[in-house]
Amino acid sequence: MNTMTLDAGHAAPAQPESLEKETVDSQTKVRETVGQPFCDDAKLRMRGVNVFYGEAQAIHEVSLDIGRNEVVAMIGPSGCGKSTFLRCLNRMNDTIDSCRVEGEVTLDDEPIYGPKVDVVPLRARVGMVFQKPNPFPKSIYDNVAYGPKIHGIASRRAELDDIVENSLRRAGLWNEVKERLDKPGTGLSGGQQQRLCIARAIAVSPEVILMDEPCSALDPIATARIEELIDELRENYTIAIVTHSMQQAARVSQRTAYFHLGHLVEVNDTETVFTNPQHELTEAYITGRFG
């Protein structure tokens, strides 16, 4: 799988015409990705990833790099496989019996799939924030402290307190909740809950944060807060975000990947994708031309 070199990725946009002829019907054909799926300083590297649910193939030959301290947005119509792909990156798909993942996924050049890989430390390194805010039905403090506790990161209460405070501060929630850390996390507003989930994720100091439509259940103001937060988090973390809002992808990401029916159609600088996408399907999607 490593034989696929960077050149292959850069060569693709040279002949976009040939690809533009493809229509939506050509779904079974394995498509070559247009644009720049690879980067030099990759944190996560995917090569030739195929995902199956039983007999059905959900992801076809996807190769993509996610660079260090980069925000990569994944967009595409519902059922295009972007969430499935995201869940491959911390092996959340393992919980689905019928799900099978082929191909190579590496984190810092170490494969994350394999018999010897333990998912517990992997998931500590690759955190996840879900579509619906899902705080545990526990106190705000316990929500954030849960990860450090189960992974044995903090041994003393004072240490744990520090981690909780820092995580909440970084998630921009500290000032809103510092007076009521013992109150249930589910009592917060939707946006606060989602920031609590982000705080919970960063409490174990992950290297990568995966976000699966983190704002789809939130109002615009809460969304703006989360987007602001994502931008701040980029300094310390690598972020992959799936979103249905193209404007959000345009606002928060450096690169945008467009998925279509399980194929990675185009990856490019976000700027390019939103002003001048190279693939017809990307163009059709972001301008709202699908029936």
């Binding site: 911390n90 959340m92 919980t95 019996d97 998912v119 517990v120 430390p121 992997l122 998931r123 500590a124 955190g127 996840m128 879900f130 619906k132 899902n134 705080p135 545990f136 039905p137 849960y146 990860g147 189960i150 992974h151 249930p184 996390g185 589910t186 009592g187 989930c197 919970r200 994720a201 174990v204």
Partner: protein, 428 residues
């Protein structure tokens, strides 16, 4: 397709409106009627049971002037040994003869003696044992009346004639005299709650059955809850979905529908014949009822596990929690109220179960209150079954009274299920 104007459409809608409302009303009426029927049935059942059974909570007593005459008793001093063979029956007969001096003849005397319960001498023995000073003295004592007398007295208040049964005219005359003199009174029947079973209705109580039920349920709960919850967790959280787990699921559902007598036969074959456990013991009863309640508990536990939102599992898993941590830190606490409710409902079912217990010998006549799970015992529903089978008229009201006790325990258990759910259910 014809294009309808808005006016036409509105007219059509309005035309159908009346019949739609009517249907709605009919449906609502049917619902109310069926609920009313159910409530009525329950009301009649309760009214009948309470009407029949309330009498069992009172008992007639006869006041007699008892002389603890050492000559009649045949003892010189009060001690452990002398008390066991002292003739208290003689003392009572003496007192009765003194109360009704004009009674003569063998048959008449036998009738006179039958006014007082055969258990009365034991009451006198207890009094004397408590206070040895009474020896040789005379005192007025309330003694339990015989069940025939009791039944007659209770029926008197219902109608003028009264239920005679084995009560002769002569006896009725004596009872009238006693009543007029205020020497025959009704009091709260504490025997019913403190005694074990007896052939004599006025001596029979439910204590042994209640304790037997308690021990049996304890065994059932201790076994079925952990096993059921463990099985449910494995099936729901760990087991892969394949033909084997499907088969297991179908079988669990089938087991829940198996007639309970089959479990009794199974218990008889395995626990008593093969493992040679004691018959009539709460241990075996509990084991059999465990088999019977397990499917219920597994099914309800699985349902409450399923009801835990998957987002919580995902959240925990996404944090890197292991499967067991996910289950024990997050899923189980959320599913617990539902599981407990299921368990209590299963227990209530087990409490009311008779058939399988008949098979393992818990139908025996047990007078003594059991002291452990291996002592011979009976349970409440079996006690009810036994009493319902007894010929004495006085057992009718005791049967109903026992049903009332059983129902109260059931209601209490179900209420505690509701209360537990309310208390444990996290509203956050």
């Amino acid at each position: 397709m014809t294009d309808l104007t808005q006016q036409q459409v509105r007219e059509r809608i309005e035309r159908r409106l009346a019949s739609r409302h009517l249907k709605e009303k009919i449906f609502r009426g049917l619902g109310i009627a069926s609920i009313a029927f159910g409530v009525l049935a329950v009301a009649i059942l309760f009214a009948d049971i309470i009407a029949k059974g309330s009498g069992a909570f009172v008992q007639s007593d006869i006041q007699l002037e008892i002389t603890y005459d050492p000559a009649v008793l045949g003892i010189e001093q009060v001690d452990q040994e002398s008390l066991t063979w002292a003739n208290f029956t003689g003392v009572i007969r003496e007192a009765l003869r003194e109360r009704f001096p004009d009674v003569s003849g063998r048959a008449e005397k036998r009738e006179l003696y039958s006014l007082v319960s055969t258990g009365a001498p034991f009451a006198l023995r207890d009094r004397l044992a408590a206070d040895p000073e009474l020896l040789g003295q005379t005192e007025k004592v309330w003694l339990t009346a015989d069940d025939d007398v009791d039944t007659f007295v209770k029926s008197l208040s219902d109608s003028r004639n009264g239920f005679r049964g084995r009560t002769s005219d002569r006896m009725a005359g004596w009872i009238d005299q006693l009543l007029v003199a205020g020497e025959l009174k009704k009091r709260f029947n504490s025997n019913f709650f403190t005694n074990g079973d007896s052939r004599e209705p006025e001596q029979a109580g439910i204590r042994a059955a209640l304790v037997g039920s308690l021990f049996t349920l304890l065994v059932t709960l201790m076994l079925s809850f952990p096993i059921g919850v463990a099985a449910a967790i494995y099936l729901e959280e760990y087991a892969p979905r394949n033909r084997w787990t499907d088969l297991i699921e179908v079988n669990i559902n089938n087991l829940a529908a198996v007639p309970s007598i089959v479990f009794g036969l199974l218990g008889l074959a395995i626990f008593i014949n093969f493992f040679e456990m004691p018959r009539s013991a709460p241990l075996v009863g509990g084991l059999v009822l465990t088999l019977m309640t397990l499917p219920t508990i597994i099914i309800s536990s699985r349902a409450s596990l399923k009801a835990v939102p998957p987002s919580i599992r995902e959240a925990a898993m996404g944090m890197g929690a292991s499967r067991m941590q996910v289950v024990f830190h997050h899923v189980l606490p959320l599913a617990m109220p539902g599981m407990l409710t299921g368990a209590i409902i299963g227990m209530a079912q087990a409490l009311g179960e008779t058939a399988p217990l008949l098979m393992i010998g818990m139908v025996a006549f047990i007078v003594d209150v059991p002291h452990g799970i291996t002592d011979p015992a009976t349970v409440l529903p079996v006690q009810i079954f036994l009493w319902a089978d007894s010929p004495e008229r006085a057992f009718v009201e005791r049967t109903s009274a026992a049903i009332m006790v059983l129902l109260s325990v059931l209601i209490a258990m179900n209420a505690s299920a509701v209360w537990l759910r309310k208390k444990l259910e996290r509203r956050w």
